[in-house]
Each structure stands twice: as C-alpha cells, then as structure tokens.
C-alpha cells in the first residue's frame, strides 16, 4: 500500500462533483470519509431574495493557505490520510455547492473532528470572497464570522 498522503486543492468555475472529491481521498487503509458541503442558501435579506453568490479568490495564496491549513490539521490529527478541497469560483446559484471538503481516516472520530476544524479555519484564513446577489440586482460582500479582521463596524 502506498504510504503517501495527498492534499488535493482545486479552484473551479464549473459545478463541483462530490464524487470526484470522495474519490480523491479514497484509500484502502481508511474506514471513514468525512465530508462537508457548503451550499448557497436561499435567503431573504431585508426583503430582497438572494439569487446566487459571486466568488473570487487570491488564487496563488489560496493554495499556500490550504497547504498550511492541511499541515496544521495533520499535526493535530496525525492519523488522517488524504485531504481534498474543491472550491467554486464565479457565479454560484442558490442550492449549488460552493465548497466540498473530504478527509479520509482509518477511524471516523479523527476525520469528523478534523473536518469541523478544517471548515472553520478555511473560513477564517483562506483568501476567498463572495458577494450575495439579490433579485433587485443589488449585491453585498459577505464577511465570515470566523475571519479575525472582519466585523468592525465604523
């Protein structure tokens, strides 16, 4: 069996394939795959309906931040085997996936804990932005609660 542990990151303007992400973490040594899918929620904001999200990224830095994050996760949960993150860019309609994250591990507990941490840290530190686009043609940039420098109102 191959002892290599993979970190696979992809930014994509096409619809994300959950199966592709699951396949990327497949390993005969793993009994568990933990997965998180973030989707665009249909929401009403001040009476306007969200029709979709527009994503952009600092692409080069996304790769390096995800690599750091994976290293950090592996230090905390040394048993996790493969990590795969696909994040959507550009226009994402309500109901479609914007991010799919999968982690494989021999035992489920490691993977389940690791994926919660991974999602939180991704939202806190990976340079990707989205704006909500409303049925009124208006839009507004979102801020993750997890981002340390967000939220200061002045």
């Amino acid at each position: 069996m191959d002892g290599g542990r993979r970190d696979v990151f992809k930014l994509s303007r096409d619809r994300l394939s959950v199966q592709e992400v699951v396949d990327a973490v497949g390993s005969a040594s793993c009994g568990a795959v933990s997965l998180f899918i973030g989707t665009t929620r249909q929401d009403d904001v001040d009476g306007r309906k969200v029709v979709g999200l527009e994503y952009e990224a600092y692409e080069g830095m996304v790769q390096s931040e995800l690599a750091k994050l994976s290293a950090n996760v592996r230090a905390r949960w040394p048993d996790i085997v493969h990590v795969c993150v696909h994040h959507r860019l550009g226009w994402v309609e309500v109901g479609e996936a914007s991010v799919v994250i999968a982690i494989s591990s021999p035992h489920r507990r490691d993977g389940q804990e690791a994926i919660q941490f991974y999602v939180t840290q991704l939202k806190a530190a990976v340079p990707i932005w989205k704006k909500e686009v409303y049925d009124t043609q208006e839009s507004s940039w979102k801020e993750n609660a997890e981002c340390p420098w967000g939220g200061a109102k002045d």
Binding site: E56, G60, K123, V126, K131, E143, W149, G150
Partner: protein
C-alpha cells in the same frame, strides 16, 4: 534592497470595487516601511479604501500582515494585496 522599490498591488472583493481596479503593476513604495504606512500610502492613492478601515489586512508575498507597526522589507516586484474580510466557504 532598494530605498524606493516598485511593487505590484492587488485589490480583491470590496477593495477592487472601491478602487475600480483589480491590480496595479508598478507602485513605488519606500522600504523598509511599516504596514500602517503602506496602508496609508494605498489610502492616499485610493481614498475610498477608507471604507475598509480597521477591517482589512494586507498580504505581502502572499503572507498576511496586520496593519500596524510591523516593519516590512520590500523588494522590486513584490506582490502586495489588500485583503478585505474573508467570506470563502
């Protein structure tokens, strides 16, 4: 090292909306410079960036740098980015 060097500045998300550009190839910046002074220099180029005041960080050579006293040593061609609050995921 240079006393005045030429860096490339990238603007993302709300900062691109505020400046009207996504990047500037050749921005002259003294070095060393504190991250606060670098931000002030960018504010002078694009006063509307003040809308991001106190909820923005910079990235220099793709590493986050909080705005403050931290002294940066820049080189020609370095990549500097304005990083509004993140909203990935």
């Amino acid at each position: 090292m240079c006393v005045l060097c030429v860096v490339c500045v990238l603007y993302f998300a709300q900062s691109a909306d505020l400046t009207g550009v996504r990047g500037e190839e050749s921005v002259a910046v003294p070095t060393p410079i504190s991250s606060q002074d670098l931000w002030t220099l960018l504010l002078r180029r694009h006063p509307r960036l003040s809308a991001l005041q106190r909820r923005v960080v910079l990235a220099v050579r793709q590493q986050y740098v909080a705005i403050g006293d931290h002294l940066l040593t820049l080189e020609d061609g370095d990549e500097v980015a304005v990083v509004p609050p993140l909203s990935g995921g």
